[in-house]
């Protein structure tokens, strides 16, 4: 190229150039460092305050569920008949006038202020050195311990929901979408029929056959919990299986199994994680709801729903009993929802504006 006439004609002189000051707003190309997909996702995720708050709350609740029941000397099922209906009392904080073991009783004759731990006339109650951080229930069981034992149940249910989604729903959807044709048709009709049965009915029918308990709840999640996930997995599979990289892989001799789980699965991971997160609050809610109508875990086990249902019976006289399980349940549900929202926005920023 060097000997073309054009090149010879172009001679730049010093006067052809002038310095342009920065302030004039010259467009300078910015170079962005290359960011990997996951780095990008985590950056977007951690910018979302709600989602990070949800993540932290879930972490705290998980830690408390693990260590909480061992933090004091009481067990979740020990009934101390002499220490029934005791309001919350926490050392140190009691000096501030809150959580000092006193409660207001609304009776037909008026409001009575009473403290069962320390009697006013100086007589010995035997409870001067007893502390129940969240109080005790009608059978004299420590609500603090019971709340965290109950949280374990909710967390177990969440884990089950994730497993069922991941193992069952995912494979079902991927296989149905990948093979298409008659297989797909049969599998989809089956899922559609199952989906037509309301969850409530599935659970009540299971209860007739099985005894109420954790196993029954797990079964009912297994029967209907996976359908939502299978639909998403199938829709993604239909979208992706026509693409070139799948064709390339097949040309290179990849088998069906390899294509489904090694080629396509990594590409739809975002949607799958998001959807799993959304199914957790639903599962937790199912357990709490079943416990509330009397189909939860058998006594003396505790679950959040069961605690709420028990405390509800006396919640106008002793409102402190119902507050811990309701707050933990509410925070757990809210946190998982916010986490799921945050993950969805992080994986698919296009969705955010919608």
């Amino acid at each position: 190229m060097s000997d073309t006439p054009l090149d010879e004609k172009m001679i730049f002189l010093e006067g052809d150039f002038e310095f342009v000051p920065r302030e004039k707003g010259v467009h300078i190309d910015e170079t962005f460092s290359n960011q990997s997909y996951w780095k990008d996702v985590s950056k977007r995720f951690f910018r979302n305050k709600g989602a990070v708050m949800g993540l932290i709350s879930i972490a705290i609740i998980i830690i408390m569920a693990i260590i909480g029941p061992n933090l004091n000397a009481y067990t979740y099922d020990a009934q101390i008949i002499t220490q029934q209906n005791l309001p919350p009392r926490i050392p140190v904080i009691e000096k501030l006038g809150i959580f000092d073991g006193s409660e207001k009783l609304y009776t037909s004759t008026g409001i009575i202020d009473q403290n069962k731990y320390i009697s006013e006339d100086g007589s010995v109650t035997g409870l001067e050195d007893v502390y129940y951080w969240f109080g005790t229930d009608v059978l004299g069981r420590d609500i603090f311990t019971r709340t965290w034992v109950g949280t374990r149940i909710s967390l177990y249910i969440s884990l089950m929901a994730v497993l069922i989604d991941m193992v069952f729903g995912l494979s079902y959807g991927l296989i149905s979408g990948y093979f298409g044709g008659k297989v797909d048709n049969a599998m989809q009709r089956f899922a559609e029929i199952l989906n037509g049965i309301p969850n409530l009915v599935v659970v009540t029918l299971l209860i007739i056959v099985l005894k109420p308990g954790l196993l029954t709840i797990t079964f009912s999640l297994m029967i209907t919990g996976w359908i939502g996930m299978s639909r998403i997995a199938r829709a993604q599979m239909l979208k992706l299986k026509q693409q070139e990289f799948v064709l390339a892989s097949r040309t290179l001799g990849a088998k069906d199994f390899f294509i489904i789980f090694r080629e396509i699965l990594p590409n739809i991971f975002g949607q799958i994680i998001t959807n799993t997160m959304f199914s957790i609050p639903t599962a937790i809610f199912t357990e709490a709801f079943l416990a509330f109508i009397g189909l939860g875990v058998p006594v003396p086990m505790a679950s959040l729903g069961l605690l709420i249902s028990d405390a509800f019976k006396s919640f106008t006289t002793h409102p402190y009993m119902i507050i811990p399980p309701v707050v933990v349940l509410a925070v757990l549900m809210l946190s998982f929802n916010m986490l799921a929202d945050g993950l969805r926005d992080a994986f698919d920023p296009k969705m955010k504006e919608m």
Partner: protein, 313 residues
């Protein structure tokens, strides 16, 4: 379209049949028989079996069972109120449940729409954030949390509303249950309306309408909301499920004599016939509404129908 409709109807019927088969099989495989009195001779048992049609082949008995269920003959209650036909029990309770459910849907839809519209119009402002917070809370918290909170504050502390449902004050005592039941509807509708409105507001035909000088409430209601609301049918299914499960708990908390509380009592006292009757009614209702929703899809917006057909093939 016809093929699609036919397929949907067939699926619905199949679902209902499968539920009936499961219910029937449960009856078949339960141990014992209605006549396991030791004093009865074999001949007498055979006579009784013949009288009640129990000697017929399984298929004939299943046919009878289906006929009974579909005509509303669910048998009698065992424990809740002995020997009362379940249809009588249901008829006295259904209106109350329907009334409170209906009120909740109306209330939730109305305020949900308003919240959603405000959030969309004031997109990315404090109003938008506030609505999002409300709707996230509404979707994530179970309805009994609202019910307990409301009945403790408004009902117990301030004594504004009765704590329990009473037939003497049917309206006042249904306010708290209605509000608690409507929260889920309100939150879902608000969320949905916001999303759809924002999408519609950016579309070409709204720009055209604006450039023709249409503005204000006319633009919002006639041009934006109308188009935004077409796909609202998609949220109907989760709403119905939410109402069903919600009603169980809410009716228990406020001791409303409705279908939901009847089911709870039946489960707790093992009244199988009542459980089965209500389970069947819930399924039939759910399947019917789903079918209706799918048919409406096709009628209202052909684009949705085509998309749905594609995803089904």
């Amino acid at each position: 379209m016809k093929k699609y409709l036919l397929k949907r109807i067939l699926i619905s019927i199949a679902t209902l049949l499968i539920i009936l088969v499961i219910l029937f099989l449960r009856l078949e495989f339960m141990p014992g028989s209605p006549f396991n009195d030791e004093k009865l001779t074999t001949a007498q048992v055979e006579l009784l079996n013949a009288k009640y049609g129990l000697d017929k082949p399984v298929l004939v008995r299943f046919g009878n069972y289906v006929k009974n269920m579909l005509t509303g003959d669910f048998g009698v209650s065992y424990t809740i109120s002995k020997n009362t036909p379940i249809s009588t029990l249901l008829m006295s309770r259904l209106p109350i449940s329907v009334k409170i459910g209906g009120q909740a849907v109306l209330l939730g839809t109305f305020f949900g729409l308003i919240l959603g519209i405000i959030a969309a119009l004031k997109h990315n402002t404090i109003w938008d954030t506030l609505t999002t917070v409300i709707s996230v809370i509404g979707v994530s918290l179970p309805s009994y949390v609202f019910a307990l909170g409301l009945s403790y504050t408004l009902g117990f502390k301030f004594e504004l509303f009765p704590l329990l449902y009473s037939s003497k004050l049917p309206f006042e005592s249904s306010i708290l249950p209605t509000i608690s039941l409507s929260m889920f509807t309100l939150a879902s509708i608000a969320r949905f309306t916001r999303t759809e409105m924002i999408e519609v507001m950016g579309s070409d035909y709204i720009q055209l309408a604006e450039s023709k000088g249409i503005s204000g409430i006319h633009l919002i209601v006639r041009h934006q909301l109308r188009n935004a609301l077409i796909p609202i049918i998609t949220v109907l299914a989760p709403l119905i499920v939410g109402l069903m499960t919600g009603s169980l708990v809410i009716e228990k908390i406020f001791s409303i004599p409705g279908i939901g509380s009847l089911l709870v009592t039946a489960i707790q006292s093992n009244d199988y016939n009542v459980i089965i009757a209500i389970a069947f009614i819930y399924s039939a209702m759910y399947i019917g509404i789903m079918l209706l929703v799918d048919i409406l899809y096709g009628v209202i917006d052909p684009r949705i129908r085509l998309a749905k057909e594609e995803s089904h093939e």
